[in-house]
């Protein structure tokens, strides 16, 4: 009897452990197909640094300062490095993105893309904030909607595009006290879902042939 109890307990424990492991696997960030990836870009090995521009703010109400640029650098640069690119070079000067509108990415004009960002850059990463809202009731909630574009400046083309959405919130008094954290979590979730779609840095055929 004692033995059978012991075996049931051990099976239950093993199943619980398996559930925990499976849930970790399910929640782990994985590669996601981006909304747009140019075939040529996916095959090219990028050796030059990618320049990270400041966030293009497309919110209707821009009153809340979110200080997104540091956050983007902290979250996106390691993702790029994991995918085989060099670390991102942050360009904090807002002069390049001040006059950028949504239309510049939805109806891209090659002459505009060719002069966007620093002159020496070949590839640019342009993060765009479409929407951010936070709400305080009996708890707090926040939503963030971001998109990212990789621009090949020399060809004046968008070579990669993806979107990320972050929803976060916590109910009760704790949630009210954690409003700042909830807002940050929404932005981080959106940036994370953007970063998982960054393509692996392509391996040129010549290198493969030498091996």
């Amino acid at each position: 009897m004692k033995n059978s109890n012991f075996s049931i307990c051990s099976i239950t424990a093993a199943l619980s452990a398996l559930c925990v492991i499976l849930s970790f696997i399910a929640c782990a960030p994985r590669n996601v197909t981006p909304l747009y990836l140019e075939a040529e870009f996916s095959k090219t090995r990028i050796a030059e640094p990618i320049y990270l521009l400041s966030f293009v703010d497309l919110r209707v109400d821009k009153a809340k300062n979110l200080n997104l640029d540091d956050n983007a650098m902290r979250r996106l640069s390691p993702s790029f490095e994991k995918k085989g690119y060099g670390p991102l070079k942050a360009m904090k000067d807002r002069k390049w993105v001040e006059s950028v509108v949504e239309d510049d990415f939805t109806h891209p004009d090659s002459s505009f893309l060719a002069v966007l960002g620093p002159e020496k850059a070949h590839y640019l990463f342009c993060p765009v904030l479409h929407d951010f809202k936070s709400k305080l009731t009996f708890g707090s909630t926040a939503n963030a909607e971001v998109s990212g574009y990789i621009v090949d400046k020399k060809r004046g083309k968008i070579v990669w595009k993806h979107k990320g959405l972050g929803q976060a919130g916590q109910g009760g008094l704790m949630g009210m006290a954690m409003k700042g954290l909830v807002e940050e979590e929404a932005v981080n979730t959106a940036l994370l879902s953007l970063s998982v779609a960054i393509p692996q840095n392509g391996i040129p055929k010549t290198v493969v042939a030498k091996k």
Binding site: D103, T141, L165, Q170
Partner: protein, 206 residues
């Protein structure tokens, strides 16, 4: 403790109401000269999936009704404020071309190939300006409450109402006046919130 929580809810109720009210993008006023007519194009409706920006069928979200209510509220509000409006007639050859090109007229710079049509249509209709409006809706996941963890989330859907007053004789191709209003939920055409948003959209056009 219970009384304290009730009091807290009562105190916070206005903040949640404030979070729902529409927000405007610009505080710039534009006065339309009283002798100038404004050619009003039918509203451009766009429903998109928030994750992919893929177009969605407006019929699934009362799109047609939203457009009709928006047009009637716009006409009523602007006429009440003394603006001489002429709704565009799609059967007219020139105005029909403009109605078909609404999407392009909503861009920050009016494309140069449409400008001659714009000039000819306004001249034929005896108007000086063209008013272009859009209702762009992003449809995303709704709010939730998880009783186990206490996690909550608000709906991520929102709607942006956009209006641009175009002067066909403008040399730079930019609209004379632009306004955007955001509603932080799916637009429901028969609600007071939607009427308030339309009113806020045009309150600085005098």
């Amino acid at each position: 403790m219970k009384q304290f929580l009730y009091l807290l809810c009562l105190l916070l109720a206005p903040t949640s109401f404030y979070a729902q009210s529409p927000v405007v993008s610009s505080k710039i006023t534009f006065s339309v000269p009283r002798d100038s007519g404004v050619l009003l194009l039918p509203v451009f409706l766009q429903y998109e999936d928030i994750y992919t920006d893929a177009p969605l069928n407006p019929a699934l979200h009362k799109g047609q009704e939203t457009g009709d209510v928006f047009d009637s509220l716009t006409q009523r509000y602007l006429r009440q404020h003394g603006i001489r409006l002429l709704p565009a007639n799609p059967a007219d050859s020139l105005q029909g071309k403009l109605v078909g090109a609404v999407k392009n007229l909503l861009r920050p710079m009016v494309p140069s190939n449409i400008r001659p049509v714009l000039t000819a249509a306004t001249k034929a209709a005896g108007c000086h300006y063209v008013l272009v409006c859009a209702v762009r809706v992003k449809v995303g996941p709704g709010g939730y409450w998880d009783p186990n963890s206490g996690a909550i989330a608000s709906s991520s859907s929102y709607a942006r109402l956009h209006a641009a007053l175009i002067d066909p004789n403008s040399t730079d191709g930019k609209p004379r006046w632009i306004q955007d209003v955001e509603i932080r939920k799916l637009p429901r055409p028969q609600t007071a919130l939607f009427a308030e948003a339309v009113q806020m959209l045009f309150q600085l056009l005098k």
